[in-house]
Subunit: 202 residues, 2 copies
Amino acid sequence: MPDAHPKTGESRPESARDRLIAAGVEAFAAKGFHGTTTRDISSAAGMSPAALYVHYKSKEELLYQISRTGHEATLQLLRESRASSDDPAEQLLAAVREFVAHHARGHTRARIVNYELSALSAEHYEEIRAIRRAINQEMRQIVESGVARGMFHTPNARMTALALLSLGVDVARWYRDEGEWSHQDIADHYCELALRMVGARA
Amino acid sequence: MPDAHPKTGESRPESARDRLIAAGVEAFAAKGFHGTTTRDISSAAGMSPAALYVHYKSKEELLYQISRTGHEATLQLLRESRASSDDPAEQLLAAVREFVAHHARGHTRARIVNYELSALSAEHYEEIRAIRRAINQEMRQIVESGVARGMFHTPNARMTALALLSLGVDVARWYRDEGEWSHQDIADHYCELALRMVGARA
DNA sequence: ACGGGGTAACTAAGCGCTTGCTTATGTCAG
DNA sequence: CTGACATAAGCAAGCGCTTAGTTACCCCGT
């Protein structure tokens, strides 16, 4: 909303900010933050190098915007999954299905979200860490509520919750668009794995 | 073996090559290949920038040596686990325990092995990919042999094997030395998770 | 209808610095 | 003397980012 265009409204093809974000996502995911130059990004967005600085203070701020919106989308996805039912097993299935599909479909963005944290400034990193803690807590509460109701059986609910997230995050590392499994196939199989991991079959 | 020292034998504190490797591991893991300068590496190894080129052709060749030995160690670990027993369940437990402990204890090296592949040259990348395929196959054969003997029950043995490796690899991403769980704790819990994932309790 | 003034987006050129790597030279054990 | 190892100095190229200037478009008093 900071760049809502006063007159063109919806017919505008794509804002310069968005094109820079899209170019940054591709480049950072492919070559990493430090392996990407501001010239890579701006030329992929069809601009001169200086144009990047009209819209973002620095290369790092572009990374931060990508990372922040990516983390917030992931957190929201887990919150909605947990709110979708009162049954922990249903919550778990929704969370795993959405989380895995999100990391497969958006593997490019997800790689930046999960593997480029060390390129953030100290302040930005702290902000992102807070979102990551909230993400962990969502999954933990699903598993712990299932254990509390006697529906799940695991000797260490926190580590199991971490393993579930870990499994989903790593999909972004190995997933390929040309692969033989669709993100649906993967999400379905991972739902089955998740039920087994939490010990849902008493 | 290319730099076996003729006389000092075992009392030699550490060769220059090894110090460069150690410095490279730390730097690459902390800031990534492109975020690390040759001056970072050489000064951490207590040498001038030019000394790196006495021992390695380029910064990329140093990365390659780290990546190759790391991959080979991982492959060997899985081969030994599989050879340690005829029982697929025993093989699985040995493989998961060793693989997870290896990725926790050696998380610094493991991060380079798994997250810095795109910085390798095309030729080196192909060589590493071959080792990675062999690693996948080891785990796959454990799971498939368990299914073939009716001891494991999973609808997609290949995806389950991939998930097991994925779970272990991702330990290197989140593991911290200061964390409250030792690598033994994690390995034990992950063994339990692995048995559930493959459906070992018929 | 018109022109002056303000604003936002963008570029060409380039600054100061750092990069990976090389060269010339020295040192020292065998 | 030789050869392996190290360094000081530095090169060409590339880096993130800045500056000065141009263009396009808005509002608004006359």
